[in-house]
């Protein structure tokens, strides 16, 4: 499968990157916790900051990376603290293009592997042929949990996450094709551009298939000042929750001014493999889950 993914991006002229797995400053996210190691270093939770830096500094226009990422405290049926991430970034595109790229990737990989449909971890059959369903977060709230307040008018993180987990994700898992959930509340997008004229909406998209969250992408925020403000907000949220402060990603912010408008997607390869093989839990597609690693 990884060979097919590489072939897909290579054929489109993407350059494969190997950015560092150890970093001095991981992306400050309120709900993603990095593993700290000796010497003020952290294992990356995503290669995003390093990839954007190298694109800004070199002028590369199409890049991808496949490598492990690490998130502390995440273990469950579809979570392992170490997992294999695919990320790709393309200059001159938006999150709308990401949806088409995902469809083309699914189509190519399932064709190469001669798999015509996938299965979610709860057994639902999922078509792999494009086009996939496109649904905005606003529409999803209206359709699946209309008793909840509009998250774009008053955003409460607890109410929002519960609605996602209790109503929206189960509803999406019953759909017989992958679903793009797009246009997220700005509170849930630390690195993405906001919509022109609709500043409470972030140009972000999540891809779901058979109840699995497979990928997350957005039109990248390229304004260093706005980005610094967002990071400050994220740091404040972390401190308010009693979490440790993370180093300030100044190198990333310094190079951001040279990053042209672009969009990028992060995509979980283990979960994609779950979907293609119908695995019931992530441990089934890993050589060793963390308890036995």
């Amino acid at each position: 499968m990884v060979r097919a993914i590489r072939a897909f991006f290579d054929s489109l002229g993407y350059v494969e990157l190997f950015t560092p797995t150890l970093t001095r400053a991981p992306a400050p996210e309120p709900y993603i916790d990095p593993f700290g190691v000796e010497g003020g270093l952290y294992l990356i939770t995503s290669p995003e900051l390093n990839i954007k830096r190298i694109m800004a500094e070199t002028g590369l226009r199409k890049v991808y990376q496949i490598g492990p990422v690490f998130r502390r405290g995440e273990r469950g049926r579809v979570h392992n603290p170490e997992f294999l991430m695919l990320e790709w970034y393309t200059i001159g595109t938006t999150y709308m293009d990401l949806m088409e790229q995902c469809e083309a990737l699914f189509d190519y990989v399932s064709g190469e592997l001669e798999i015509s449909f996938g299965r979610g971890p709860y057994g639902e059959k999922v078509s792999l042929s494009p086009p996939f369903l496109r649904l905005s977060v606003k529409e999803a709230f209206k359709r699946f949990c209309d008793r909840h307040p509009d998250p774009f008018e008053s955003f409460d993180p607890v109410v929002f996450d519960r609605a996602m987990v209790d109503a929206i994700e189960p509803a999406l898992s019953r759909h017989d094709a992958p679903v793009f959930l797009y246009d997220w509340p700005r509170e849930r997008a630390s690195l993405s551009k906001l919509k022109e004229g609709e500043l409470c909406v972030a140009e972000r998209v999540e891809l779901y298939g058979g109840g699995l969250e497979l990928g997350n992408g957005f039109t990248e925020l390229t304004d260093p000042l706005e980005q610094a403000k967002r990071f400050q907000g994220m740091m404040r949220e972390r401190l308010a929750m009693g979490k440790e402060e993370l180093p300030w990603p100044q190198d990333f912010l310094d190079s951001l001014k040279d990053l042209p408008p672009c969009a990028g997607m992060a995509f979980g390869i283990d979960r994609f493999l779950m979907l293609l093989t119908g695995a019931r839990e992530i441990a089934d597609v890993l050589t060793y889950p963390v308890e036995r690693a």
Binding site: P30, E74, G76, R77, V158, V165, D166, W184, E206, M241
Partner: protein, 187 residues
């Protein structure tokens, strides 16, 4: 205290003063959102089940459950009386607390009682017990097909289906997990 990251299937915790066991558990984390721990919980006193979703940072009191070896002494109008075999202390349980186990409790039988703090909440019986038949009317004549059964009543008052050859005064081996007849021990 337990933290939400300690939650897993089989863990026993206290909610509103009552012991619960986690019967199903799922870790969820919606895109860029917070970790949520979805649990199905069973009340160990009432058997009532409920769904609860917890967040990171939630704290839980472990349910203090102890198993104690006890001897069943006797039953009277006040309930069922047991004796702790190491301290010789006596405790009582109501018919409701004893539940299904009342069908198999025989005087002097050794059992394990599960306590939540000071309250006995369930009885763990041996898998097999031997009980005497006190009433076993003859089976219906002509009904001799293999596997044919008839009702019989045991010394505890429990009635079950037994083979046609069982008579009053027989000692039967009973599986307490299914409540079914296993074999005849002696006449």
């Amino acid at each position: 205290m337990y933290d939400s990251s300690d939650l897993r299937k089989g863990l026993k915790i206290v909610i509103d003063g009552e012991p619960y066991i986690i019967t199903e558990f799922e870790f969820s984390k919606p895109g860029k959102g917070q970790a949520l721990y979805r649990c199905k919980l069973k009340n160990m006193l009432t058997g009532y089940t409920m769904d609860r979703t917890y967040r990171s940072g939630d704290k839980f009191e472990p349910a203090n459950l102890n198993e104690v070896k006890m001897q069943f002494l006797y039953k009277d109008g006040d309930g069922y009386h047991f004796m702790n075999m190491t301290t010789y202390e006596q405790i009582d349980m109501t018919e409701e607390q004893v539940g299904e186990a009342k069908n198999f409790l025989k005087e002097n039988m050794e059992v394990s009682l599960l306590f939540f703090d000071e309250t006995p909440i369930s009885i763990d019986l041996p898998n097999f017990v031997e009980l005497e038949v006190v009433d076993a009317p003859p089976g219906v004549k002509g009904d001799t097909a293999t596997g044919a059964t008839k009702p019989a009543t045991l010394e505890t008052g429990y009635t079950l289906q037994v083979p046609l050859f069982i008579e009053e005064g027989d000692i039967l081996k009973i599986d307490t997990r299914t409540g079914q007849y296993v074999e005849r021990k002696k006449k």
